[in-house]
């Protein structure tokens, strides 16, 4: 794995840069969507995969970020301040959502976050004075960067890619800092983490806040990418989808969300040949993958790349064979 890691990253990077020049507009749209959803999935991976806090509300944060950007740019704000503000708003709300996690864990936490997601959806749908309800908001302008307009799909894709790279580099750095270690300690054994002097309370809240921030930033790119947002896009389905990306890709593995988002975005498109049945096939593939490899695609990859164990010495093998009942 160690040897193959950098190689596959290099191949992936080359593909990420080269592909938009080969693809049709819809293909460019899809890989832009991949970049955006990957950012949200990295955030969820931070909360769920590294810090072990189950969150089913990531879709809501994408929605909050998207609506912040759409509303503020429509009110005349430039893109980047709105984008940052969307992330900051999600940081605060994510921090607050972390408080239930201090009291309850696992499936209870899953349901609190699930309820939160539905509440956000209801607010987006019902507060028409602010969000225009189920009519949605169309035509969010794409930003211009140093005087360069990103109206062109390919240019906008590179903006998404650049932000993705920036954010994943920041995440990578953070995971290697004492903070990242603290998150993993929180996941593995919260009581031991506490007894080692970690402020588990603060790290739990931080895990939620940071993960949600990434969700909000992804939403900030989602609005100008799709140029039409409505409450239905940020319902539980999106949260389930993001959860699926993280788990299918490989939860708690850095590159898991990249692979998971790729599968979740591309697989349904490739299977359009199967017409109406593609969602059925997709759901079946996910179930099969989960049954055979619950650690996700990256886990599968690691298993395949692991050097084969040298065959056990004959005596040891004989003992082992004897020990296992036939």
């Amino acid at each position: 794995m160690k040897r193959f890691g950098p190689l596959s990253v290099a191949v992936a990077a080359a593909a990420a840069i080269g592909l938009p020049f080969l693809l049709k507009p819809f293909g460019v749209y899809l890989i832009s969507m991949w970049a955006v959803l990957t950012i949200a999935a990295i955030g969820l991976n931070l909360t769920l995969g590294y810090a072990g806090q189950v969150s089913m509300a990531q879709g809501a944060f994408v929605g909050i970020g998207a609506y912040t950007v759409a509303l503020l740019t429509a009110a005349g704000w430039p893109f980047f301040p709105a984008f940052i503000l969307g992330g900051a708003l999600c940081f605060v709300i994510g921090w607050l959502l972390g408080y239930p996690a201090l009291r309850v864990q696992h499936h209870y936490l899953a349901f609190v976050t699930l309820a939160f997601n539905t509440l956000v959806f209801l607010v987006l749908r019902n507060e028409e004075w602010l969000t225009r309800g189920s009519y949605g908001i169309a035509g969010t302008d794409r930003p211009s960067l140093f005087g360069l307009s990103t109206d062109n799909a390919r240019v906008f894709y590179f903006l998404c890619l650049a932000i993705l790279i920036l954010l994943s580099a920041a995440t990578w750095w953070m995971l290697r800092s004492p903070w990242g270690r603290a998150f993993v300690a929180l996941r593995e054994n919260p009581i031991r983490a506490l007894s080692l002097g970690l402020d588990t309370r603060r790290y739990t809240l931080m895990a939620f806040a940071l993960g949600s921030t990434l969700g909000g930033l992804a939403g900030g790119l989602y609005a100008p990418l799709v140029q039409f947002i409505e409450p239905g896009s940020f319902s539980l389905n999106l949260s389930f989808n993001l959860l699926l990306m993280v788990i299918v890709g490989g939860s708690g593995r850095f590159f898991g969300p990249f692979v998971g988002a790729l599968i979740a975005v591309l697989l349904p498109e490739w299977m359009r040949v199967a017409e109406g049945y593609y969602l059925i096939i997709y759901a079946m593939l996910v179930m099969v993958l989960m049954v055979f490899c619950p650690s996700g695609v990256i886990g599968l990859f690691e298993k395949a790349m692991k050097p084969k164990k040298p065959p056990a010495a004959p005596a040891a093998a004989a003992i082992k064979a004897e020990a296992t009942p036939q």
Partner: protein, 291 residues
């Protein structure tokens, strides 16, 4: 007052159906730590078994029996053998993902292989209104309530008054000790899956005439079942009943008296409040948490 009685009766009827679904949900959780995110789709599906059987010419009572039987086999036995058994040792989360995928699978299968349109579904009784203290109450609500209550009482008797039921409770409370005492734990777990299959089928027969049989029915029903289970207490059958009733009544009353556009929000607010202030649920026991 008259409209209040009407709302209460229809709320109790819906609540009783929610309770059936929530009981199945908590049973699976208690005996096998399965959080079934497809529970709503499990309720949606049996209605289509019944419709398919009726399309082949079966009378309603036979079709209903076929529906319950198929549901017990497919949503009980097959679900356990194909999905839960291989997954459960990997922990809760992969199983959650799998049941989410399963719910998508069931929904899309019904949409593609049966119909994407809402299908009319035969009611248990002919539509008739009863006049009671000046209120008009539909006979259907009363029948739904009666069937649901009868099912719950039957289940209660099974769980508390028979040897089999006590074995199942022992399995739920402490599988290791149950095994030491000679209870076939594996078979008891299977029985709870069978019971869940039967409960969702009955709930399906009761709710489909009201909502029509449609592939998207499961979303709201599944959510209602989770909320009912948590409000009442995840580890208590009584809790699921209480939660279901509270939810059904609240749903109807809040839509009528408070705000219909936020009717979906009230159960969620109560859910969050319950989880924060009484995480074990209104009737639940505190679970000892393993380190």
């Amino acid at each position: 007052m008259a409209s209040f009685i009407q709302l209460m009766v229809s709320g109790l009827a819906t609540g009783a159906i929610y309770a059936l679904i929530a009981i199945g949900f908590t049973l699976l959780w208690q005996t096998s730590q399965t959080i079934n995110f497809a529970q709503g789709e499990f309720v949606m599906l049996p209605a289509f078994f019944v419709l398919a059987a009726m399309n082949m010419g079966a009378p309603y009572w036979l079709a209903a029996l076929i529906g319950i039987a198929l549901s017990v086999v497919i949503l009980g036995v097959l679900f356990k053998a194909v999905i839960v058994d291989p997954m459960i040792r990997h922990g809760v989360l992969p199983l959650v993902i799998t049941t989410i995928a399963l719910s998508l699978f069931l929904k899309e299968s019904v949409k593609d292989f049966y119909s994407s349109q809402a299908q009319p579904f035969p009611a248990l009784v002919a539509p008739r209104d009863l006049h009671f203290l000046g209120a008009v109450v539909s006979l259907q609500s009363i029948v739904v309530l009666a069937v649901a209550v009868a099912t719950v009482i039957g289940l209660h008797l099974l769980l508390n008054k028979t040897r089999l039921g006590r074995c199942m409770q022992a399995t739920a409370q402490n599988p290791t000790v149950a095994r030491i005492l000679g209870i076939p734990v594996g078979r008891m777990v299977l029985y709870t899956f069978l019971i869940n299959g039967a409960l969702v089928a009955i709930a399906s027969l009761l709710i489909s005439p009201i909502y029509l049989a449609k592939f998207t029915n499961g979303e709201a029903l599944g959510m209602a079942a989770f909320i009912a289970a948590i409000i009442g207490g995840f580890n208590q059958v009584r809790g699921a009943i209480l939660g279901g009733i509270i939810l059904g009544v609240l749903d109807n009353l809040s839509a009528a008296y408070l705000s219909s556009s936020y009717r979906g929000a009230f159960p969620l607010v109560i859910l969050i409040a319950v989880i924060l202030f009484r995480p074990q649920g209104l009737l639940g026991r505190v679970e000892e948490r393993a380190v």
